[in-house]
């Protein structure tokens, strides 16, 4: 493996390549990026020579934080580094426990309570660690692969016959969720186009192909149509630690309109989208990304250009109180429960990566 000469940034070339590929948009969808991140982290463990968990963890952490810093908009990339770290911790703890059990099978309750948590110290050697971690990661990869299916399986519980469902933009999870439901029930879908970037049309076309009654509406019609809608089902880019969403712009509009009309908002979020970050300010570095304003105004339209400032943000922040339910691959959760899921998914020490 090649390493850069600069000792400070000992990041492997494959990571640099990955970052530039993601920036150039060579990956489509967050699942693809997530999967590739896990692949890269796995290759780190496979290729590395580790005697104990500490070395392994520090390597993962360096690379993880590099990815996180280079791709601040892709929260799932940082999440995967946290998740792999958690896996290493777990496997280490299990390995240690097995060993200690061999030495002292009769552990008293008193000992357990008073013992200093051995998990804090990862320096003792554990020869089988690499294998067990790799096993665990493969399991996790399986979980990733099936996450969309798992969410779609729950469709029947949430969509009933003759309902009017509103969704927006394009999202793979939403698409398969609706498809699954359509196999058993008959219902109508309204897709908000989400201009200028949103690809509502794409979703509508693919839904129409699976014989679902689909209507595309513009962003300006959201409020008007909301009173007739039974449920809002949307995907998201990231779920923040407080249960807020970082989702495609115009999600906030939809959520507010839904709140006004008391329509439940369901967010389909595979667990890898949960991130232990908060939104502190709208000017927060790397919260939003701004793309070229060509969708809003034409470059050739000179007379208006010189007089108008143009911004084209990609994301909206949706506060947690506007979300009714998160549907993840493990089931439905209320926004207030997200903190609990987070503590299950990641180790608190890894929140700041």
């Amino acid at each position: 493996m090649m390493k850069l000469e600069n000792p400070k940034v000992q990041v492997q070339q494959s990571f640099l390549r990955f970052v530039s590929d993601v920036k150039q948009g060579k990956y489509h969808g967050s699942l693809e990026v997530t999967r590739k991140t896990v692949d890269l982290l796995k290759s780190l463990i496979v290729d590395g020579e580790f005697t104990n968990a500490q070395g392994m963890m520090s390597t993962i952490r360096t690379h993880g934080s590099f990815l996180h810093k280079s791709l601040p908009h892709y929260a799932s990339v940082g999440n995967m580094a946290r998740r792999v770290l958690k896996i290493v911790r777990e496997e280490y703890a299990v390995g240690r426990k097995n060993k200690s059990e061999e030495m002292d099978p009769q552990e008293s309750l008193h000992k357990i309570v008073t013992s200093v948590d051995s998990g804090e110290d990862y320096s003792s050697p554990l020869p089988d660690l690499k294998l067990s971690v790799l096993d665990h990661i493969s399991e996790f990869e399986m979980e990733l692969e099936t996450s969309i299916d798992n969410i779609a399986q729950q469709a029947q519980e949430h969509i009933h016959s003759n309902e009017l469902i509103l969704t927006l933009g394009t999202s793979k999870v939403v698409e398969s969720f609706l498809r699954k439901a359509a196999a058993h029930r008959k219902f109508d879908v309204i897709v908000v186009d989400c201009g200028p970037l949103g690809k509502g049309h794409e979703l509508a076309v693919s839904l129409a192909k699976s014989k679902i009654n689909t209507t595309v509406i513009g962003d300006n019609a959201i409020f008007g149509i909301m009173s007739r809608v039974n449920k809002v089902i949307i995907g998201t880019h990231t779920v923040m630690a407080n249960g807020g969403l970082r989702a495609l712009s115009s999600c906030h509009t939809v959520a507010l309109a839904a709140k006004h009309c008391s329509v439940p908002v369901m967010v389909l979020a595979p667990l890898y989208k949960l991130t232990p970050q908060y939104l502190c300010s709208y000017d927060q570095d790397a919260f939003n990304s701004y793309v070229a304003p060509d969708g809003v105004l034409d470059f050739s339209d000179h007379s208006t250009l010189s007089q108008i400032k143009r911004y084209c943000p990609v994301f909206d922040y949706v506060p947690p109180e506007l979300v009714t339910l998160f549907i993840s691959n493990t089931g439905g959760h209320a926004p207030s429960y997200v903190y609990r899921l987070l503590s299950e998914l990641y180790h608190p020490d890894d929140y700041e990566i």
Binding site: L16, Q24, G25, V291, D294, S300, S303, S306, K309
Partner: protein
């Protein structure tokens, strides 16, 4: 994102061919003097990153696999830059080869050199090292290849971008008018309006429109200076050593399409994509603004991925800050500004619509507007910098005022309190520039047309900021317009010279042709080629050819008329070739009139001449009659009227006869 589908596009191109690009590092002009005195133009910073990096980033993003960087000036610096950049690493998807040729003075030379080196194997993308773009090149390349299948001679696809006629993104020197065949995208006509004699008028040859079902004429295109070239481009440059610039090439190909057996195609990139070439201060300013306004996304400061550089933070109001920037509490940074890492801004200073480089020290109470301050500058207290460029490591003394297109070369020390609106550089140079302080000399541009005393500086300012964004500069604008009218008045005479030269050439050809008994077809070819050489319009050609034929016989001898008949019968095919339609006929008669006025001996031959031309079906009845009635109205053509009268009478009688017959 839809604009980046490079991986998909790659598959559709055949696997084995590598997408090659030629990047010309130099712009072969002195537009950026004094900045380019010791720095190559491609290494000038644009939004704190050098132009070449922007270009290469774009090329690698858009799927180019192999690039040839062609250097001619300051080669060592370019090499050094590449060596220290990420383009040097093995794993970079773009493999970069540096070609050095220090003798090259123009793009044409560079192309000829490339041809001699034989490195290019197939179609290639030709860009300047100062391009900023995010357009995906692969679809354009594919289109080029598709067109190549139907048109074997396709040499180059010229890439344009839509931008309205008064768009600020269009440099005046790039104001082009293009006519394109709608079906085949072939360029039929290309005119640079700045170079043409009358910028307000366009002459599009009729045959372009008549020969095709539909033609698009564009006035709203911005030349991106990107071209997709077939392999035949390099030999074309080698064969035509007078092709110096890309414009020469386009003009040359269009004029001699049949001879060179080559054609050009146009490609318009969509509004969603951006491309521009920074070849003047005007473009420098515009491209910077476009980048700050994020038209060039993903080529924006906060997305750039340059090794050893911290990313920029993007804040409200299009303000970009690189870590670590020290802004004092009362300083104001607003509206489309960029501040590089390590810079400090003092109390009560305001920065608007400007770019500040890395490690700059801005003092207290400084006002910076619409300016570009490069790396490592020191601006002392109470300075005011407006619409200016301050090069690397300059020092602007306390209270100095830089305004209206002032440009400070690298390392200039501008003395305190100095008021400047000129170009300054730090060394005296070869010519004795006026010294205004320690390492500060006023640069005199050796432009031919800067004869008016303050024309030079006005022009720089005009280049940098001829933008209607700045409403307060009304008087400046009027200056510009007066300059423009001067230009047009000056350029009338050379056109006359051209026609005169053309006329002499035609007379020579005809004389030689008659003496050597050359075939008339060859003579027509000869006349046509000199027509292109002197850029004479078709109507003028008609007029001048007839005139030339009529004035060939030596006037003093009695045998004028007999000579004339001889010549006329010999040159009849030429006349038939040129005098085809009523417009040409009236041109022919105009020539007749002019010769008749000048040449007394000719007068007696007029009726017979008219008769012959009428019999030969060269002139039609209506045109002759119309001409005659016009003649009568003018007093000085009395003689001509008198001699032509019998013929006209006969003509009218013949007409009446034929009418009565038909009755």
């Amino acid at each position: 994102m839809s604009r980046n589908k490079s991986s998909k596009d790659l598959d559709s191109l055949t696997k084995e061919d590598v997408v090659q690009a030629v990047v010309v590092a130099d712009n072969f002009s002195d537009a950026f003097v004094p900045m380019t005195n010791d720095t190559p133009s491609c290494l000038l910073p644009l939004v704190n990153n050098c132009l070449l990096d922007h270009t290469l980033e774009w090329l690698s993003n858009s799927g180019v696999q192999e690039a040839f960087l062609f250097c001619s000036r300051h080669v060592e610096k370019v090499k050094e830059h590449i060596k220290n950049s990420k383009w040097n690493s093995d794993t970079n998807p773009l493999s970069l080869n540096i070609i050095v040729s220090e003798t090259c003075l123009s793009l044409g030379d560079a192309m000829r050199d490339l041809d001699a080196k034989g490195l290019i194997r197939g179609d290639f993308i030709l860009v300047m090292g100062d391009s900023v773009a995010n357009v995906n090149l692969l679809p354009i390349l594919e289109k080029h290849r598709k067109l190549q299948k139907t048109d074997k001679g396709l040499a180059m696809t010229v890439v344009y971008k839509y931008a309205g006629p008064s768009h600020s993104g269009r440099a005046p020197q790039d104001d082009v008018l293009v006519a394109v065949d709608k079906k085949t995208s072939k360029i039929l006509f290309h005119q640079n309006r700045a170079a043409s004699s009358d910028p307000k008028k366009v002459h599009i040859p009729m045959e372009i429109i008549l020969e095709r079902p539909s033609v698009d004429i564009y006035n709203d295109m911005l030349d991106t200076h990107i071209s997709i070239c077939s392999v035949s481009v390099l030999p074309l440059f080698s064969d035509n050593f007078d092709f110096q610039t890309r414009y020469d090439f386009i003009k040359g190909i269009l004029m001699n399409e049949e001879i060179l057996a080559s054609s050009l195609a146009a490609y318009c990139i969509s509004d969603r994509e951006y491309a521009a070439s920074v070849d003047s201060w005007h473009m420098y300013k515009n491209v910077t603004q476009n980048m700050i306004h994020r038209w060039t996304f993903p080529l924006v400061p906060d997305m750039l991925d340059i090794e050893g550089e911290k990313a920029y933070q993007y804040l409200r109001g299009n303000v970009y800050k690189q870590h670590p920037v020290t802004l004092s509490r009362s300083s104001i940074v607003e509206d489309d500004s960029v501040i590089g890492g390590g810079s400090k801004v003092g109390e009560d200073s305001t920065i608007q619509r400007s770019v500040i480089g890395r490690n700059c020290q801005i003092g207290k109470g400084v006002k910076i507007e619409d300016s570009f301050i490069w790396d490592g500058c020191i601006v002392e207290d109470n300075c005011s910098i407006q619409r200016s460029v301050v090069g690397n490591n300059c020092t602007v003394g306390r209270g100095a005022v830089l305004s209206q297109g002032c440009i400070l070369g690298q390392g200039v020390y501008c003395p305190p309190g100095y008021q400047c609106n000129q170009r300054l550089q730090s060394t005296a140079g070869d010519e004795d520039f006026e010294k205004i302080g320690e390492s500060a000399y006023i640069v005199q541009l050796d432009d031919d047309d800067s004869d008016s005393e303050d024309g030079g500086t006005k022009q720089i300012w005009n280049e940098l900021f001829s933008n209607e964004n700045f409403v307060d500069d009304v008087d400046g604008d009027s200056d510009v317009s007066s300059e423009m009218s001067d230009d047009s008045a000056r350029s009338v005479s050379p056109v006359l010279d051209d026609t005169k030269l053309f006329f002499n050439e035609v007379v020579d050809s005809l004389k030689r042709g008659f003496e050597d008994k050359l075939h008339c077809d060859n003579l027509i070819l000869e006349i046509n080629s000199s027509r292109y050489a002197y850029n004479v319009s078709m109507r003028e050609v008609n007029l001048l050819v007839v005139k030339a034929i009529l004035s060939l016989p030596k006037s003093e001898t009695d045998s004028y008329l007999s000579q004339l008949w001889q010549l006329l019968t010999y040159f009849m095919p030429i006349l038939k070739n040129y005098i085809k339609n009523p417009v040409a006929q009236s041109d022919c008669l105009q020539a007749l009139k002019e010769v008749g006025l000048a040449e007394k001996a000719f007068l007696s031959g007029v009726p017979k001449l008219l008769n012959v031309l009428y019999d030969q079906d060269i002139l039609s009845e209506e045109v002759i009659l119309k001409w005659f009635s016009d003649l009568k109205a003018e007093p000085e053509t009395k003689d001509l009227c008198r001699v032509a009268d019998p013929f006209i009478k006969w003509l009218k009688e013949a007409e009446e006869e034929s009418e009565s017959e038909s009755d």
